[in-house]
């Protein structure tokens, strides 16, 4: 079952990449296509942020991950590089967990 998910998801993601390189760039000139491709990831990434930070299966929870996320926001506002953002988030979450 997991293998099916791994292989089907990988094939699907590869075909999406290949489609972009192989398709006519004229598709991008269709406003509906362009907006959908640009806006769906923004909505989805934001949804993933809160789901990964504030939920546990079907429950809404507030734990050390929230502190880590807040620290990540501060790091991003200070224009820290990607790696530093992750280190700060992880470090603060571990610290809050240890203190709590």
């Amino acid at each position: 079952m997991i293998w099916t998910v791994v292989l089907a998801g990988s094939l699907g993601c590869y075909l999406l990449k290949y489609a972009g390189l192989a398709a006519s760039p004229a598709i991008l000139e269709r406003p509906a296509v362009r907006r959908a491709v640009e806006l769906v990831p923004a909505a989805m990434l934001a949804a993933l942020v809160v789901v990964q930070a504030f939920t546990d299966r079907q429950a809404l929870v507030l734990d050390a991950r929230a502190a880590g996320l807040a620290a990540a926001v501060v790091a991003l506002l200070l224009r820290a590089p990607f790696l530093v953002v992750l280190l700060v988030a992880g470090g603060v979450a571990a610290l809050v967990h240890a203190l709590a």
Partner: protein, 225 residues
Amino acid sequence: MSESAEGWRRRTTRDSLGVGLAVGLYGAAFGAAATASGLSVLQTCTLSLLMFTGASQFALVGVLGAGGAPVAAVASAMMLGARNTLYGLRLASPLGLRGLRRAVAAQAVIDETTAMALAAPNTAALRLAFTVTGSSLFVGWNLSTLAGALGSGLLGESAQVALDAVVPAAFLALVWPRLRHSSTDRAVAAGGALVALALTPVVPPGVQVILAAAAVGLGFGRWRR
């Protein structure tokens, strides 16, 4: 002239290699998160080799780890992977590849390679940035995935907590540039986050993310037309 050309070659190569190295921690976090979600080390490493697009991989193992349906896991990965199609459309003409070379290059059409390529000052630099970033990312991502997958069993409780916090922070860092530059993206992101939280208690794990993205992303696109 040749000196400045040498200059940008060196700069492009250095920056591109740097991006490949910086992704290491993210890859290790993925390896550990995937095995914690119930994937074997081989399945985890296969994902990094064949899927090779971080956000989709995290989304897929996140849905599986939360007990979500296989279809929801694949759909989440593909919805996030759809932005690579947009990148490909932008890169197709400057890369100018055909046949087998295009088929191989397609695997490297992701956030980081696109960002580095589109920041290059000319077409030759764009191709160099794409190639070097893609190669170093592929090596770094897969090695760090393996390290994370093998090392996750050795992690203590604090390290597990830290890792749990790294995942949402990584998604936030991915969406952050969009939030900084576009008020439309900010509205869409806020909507997506709220809808996902509201749906979490009432739909199976993973489905809330898909519904939030579809409703808000597509809905907002139509409304703005």
